[in-house]
């Protein structure tokens, strides 16, 4: 366990103490500053407006977002809407180089003289989870503080929402980190891993979705793809644990098991 913890801690320094990590953090901060400054800050006015329900229905029938009106904290509702799509991409970008560069450079060879491949895989995965958790916490608290300044009387009633938004975002991000671990081992490239998840997975998703309209059992293949329940998650009240949160957990276990299987057999 101690080795896993040391590797996990080192992943944190990789983000917070290296130039590449700094650039990623800066980009992340700018994007979230824009999200928080504009849509989230004006969330209360939008959501509390009398015509919001009508407008949102007219806006989209497929994106059933009317439940957002039910949230106590308008800021958190809008935050959730953005975060549910933004954090999976963030997780992929932040964790895209879990093993690939170190394997290509030979640095893993130094590490593997001192820990097992399982410890390495798990340590790096948990490190990325910690990074994801810290990024979610920071942005979530920022959104929460905005609501607090608007109307501090809502704070206590928003605690459940705050907790479940954070937890759900964390769970939604998990399979993306795990699948990046797996792709790092298979493709041996961080860039290809990103391309695979952001471009190839959606294309594959579309093809399988189309084919499943002809051969229905093929639909089960979609369960293997990360982000399968992302739209459902956006539509659900975030303070619920439902099937859309169980699937990512199962996917994470599946991806990690596959990564472990391949890593323990691969030449490094």
């Amino acid at each position: 366990m101690q080795a896993i913890w040391h590797i996990c801690q080192f992943e944190l320094t990789r983000l917070f103490l290296t130039k590449r990590g700094g650039i990623l953090l800066l980009a992340f901060a700018i994007i979230w500053l824009i999200i928080l400054r504009y849509p989230v800050l004006s969330a209360a006015n939008i959501l509390n407006g009398a015509s919001f329900g009508d407008n949102i229905s007219a806006f989209s029938q497929s994106m059933n977002l009317q439940h957002l009106i039910d949230w106590n904290y308008g800021e958190l509702a809008i935050y959730w809407l953005f975060a549910v799509f933004a954090f999976p991409i963030t997780a992929v970008l932040m964790s895209s180089d879990q093993l690939a560069s170190d394997a290509n450079r030979g640095t893993l060879r130094f590490i593997l003289l001192r820990c097992s491949r399982n410890q390495l895989l798990l340590g790096r995965f948990l490190g990325q989870l910690l990074i994801l958790a810290s990024l979610i916490t920071m942005t979530l608290l920022a959104a929460f503080m905005m609501g607090f300044y608007r109307d501090s009387s809502l704070v206590m009633s928003a605690m459940d929402e705050l907790f479940f938004v954070g937890l759900n975002l964390f769970i939604i991000g998990m399979p993306y980190i795990a699948v990046t671990s797996l792709l790092n081992i298979v493709l041996k490239s961080s860039k290809l891993s990103i391309v695979m998840i952001i471009i190839v997975v959606p294309i594959f998703h579309s093809i399988v979705s189309y084919l499943s309209t002809i051969i229905a059992p093929l639909e089960i293949l979609l369960l293997a793809l990360p982000g399968i329940g992302l739209f459902d998650a956006a539509q659900m009240p975030a303070f619920e644990i439902s099937q859309t949160t169980i699937v990512p957990v199962l996917q994470t276990i599946g991806y990690l098991a596959a990564a472990q299987f391949l890593l323990t057999r691969r030449a490094l």
């Binding site: 101690q2 080795a3 040391h6 590797i7 080192f10 320094t13 990789r14 103490l17 290296t18 130039k19 590449r20 560069s101 170190d102 450079r105 030979g106 640095t107 060879r109 130094f110 590490i111 593997l112 003289l113 001192r114 820990c115 097992s116 491949r117 057999r265 030449a267 490094l268």
Partner: protein, 300 residues
């Protein structure tokens, strides 16, 4: 002496290509072992199997009584894998500290240990540098330093002096000599002169097969031979040496280098007789080596 490394029937296949063919050997502790062979012979493959970077297709490997990659070997085995580099994004200190902590050092002890191993390779002032700020030779020495963290029992070095200037190569050779006795080394290299100075056991790989295992420098052939390197333009030397009573035969490697086979029973002090004869005939020599050179032993 206990067994340091034991390999039994190791085979390694890359697709249809067989990199190692039924390789079996044992190395006792207290030895420095050379792993030699031409390019593509399987040296790095064998090295990688010993370090658990590659898995053998078949066969058994045991290091200090454990399978490669076992938890029991963490901290007991150090290695310098060929071409492996430290992460250029982190200071050397950060990386060596992580390695030390993975071996069970506390944070405070890890800092002291990093300083110690960098002192050993004479690079203590590079602790806060990033690897890409160092020269190739310095980076190699830092990589050797990581192999020494925790004073392992066995250190495996794959081409430790490849691509280094003579001064850096000498430093590394000196380092191995200094640590001889405290650490058992396995060194893979093409530099036979270097290995001759450092090693007492030789594993020769050819086309994936272990064709020869020499244990110790003093094989019976070696104990009855000397290698003489003369100054140039002394063509008459061969005839003079052949006339010495103890000389059984003389092999001329080239105009300057001769291998002398002699009767050790008849004259155990042949080297003194030879030097006297050289002095008497005013023959100048550069080097007189007892036994055959490693190159002669392996490839003649």
């Amino acid at each position: 002496m206990s067994t340091l490394i034991s390999c039994q029937g190791i085979n390694k296949l890359y697709g249809s290509k067989q990199a190692l063919k039924d390789v079996s050997f044992e190395i006792e502790s207290g030895t420095t072992t050379a792993l030699v062979g031409p390019n593509g012979a399987g040296k790095t493959t064998l090295f990688s199997i010993l370090c658990n970077y590659h898995l053998p297709s078949s066969g058994q490997v045991s290091i200090l009584g454990h399978k490669p990659g076992s938890n029991a070997l963490f901290g007991q085995v150090g290695a310098l894998p060929q071409d492996a580099q430290l992460d250029p994004r982190f200071a050397i200190k950060h990386q060596l500290e992580l390695y030390a902590k993975l071996q069970g050092f506390s944070k405070k002890q890890a800092i002291i240990e990093c300083q110690r191993v960098l002192d050993v390779v004479d690079l203590s002032d590079t602790l806060n540098e990033r690897p890409d700020a160092l020269s190739h030779g310095m980076r190699k020495r830092v990589c050797i330093a990581q192999a020494l963290i925790g004073s392992p029992k066995l250190v495996m070095l794959d081409e430790p002096t490849a691509g280094l200037d003579p001064a850096n190569a000498k430093n590394i050779r000196q380092l191995v000599m200094d640590l001889n006795g405290q650490v058992d080394f396995v060194i893979s290299s093409h530099n036979l002169d270097e290995l001759e100075k450092l090693c007492d056991t030789v594993l020769l790989l050819k086309q994936g097969q272990l064709s020869q295992q020499k244990v110790g420098q003093l094989s019976s052939e070696t104990s009855r031979s000397m290698t003489l390197l003369l100054e140039s333009n002394q063509d008459h030397a061969l005839a003079i040496i052949q006339q010495l009573s103890s000389v059984a035969s003389v092999e001329s490697i080239n105009k300057q280098e001769l291998i002398l086979h002699y009767n050790a029973t008849q004259n155990p002090n042949f080297d003194i007789e030879l030097l006297q004869a050289l002095a008497q005939h005013k023959l100048n020599y550069r080097q007189l080596t007892k036994g055959l050179s490693l190159e002669q032993q392996l490839f003649s």
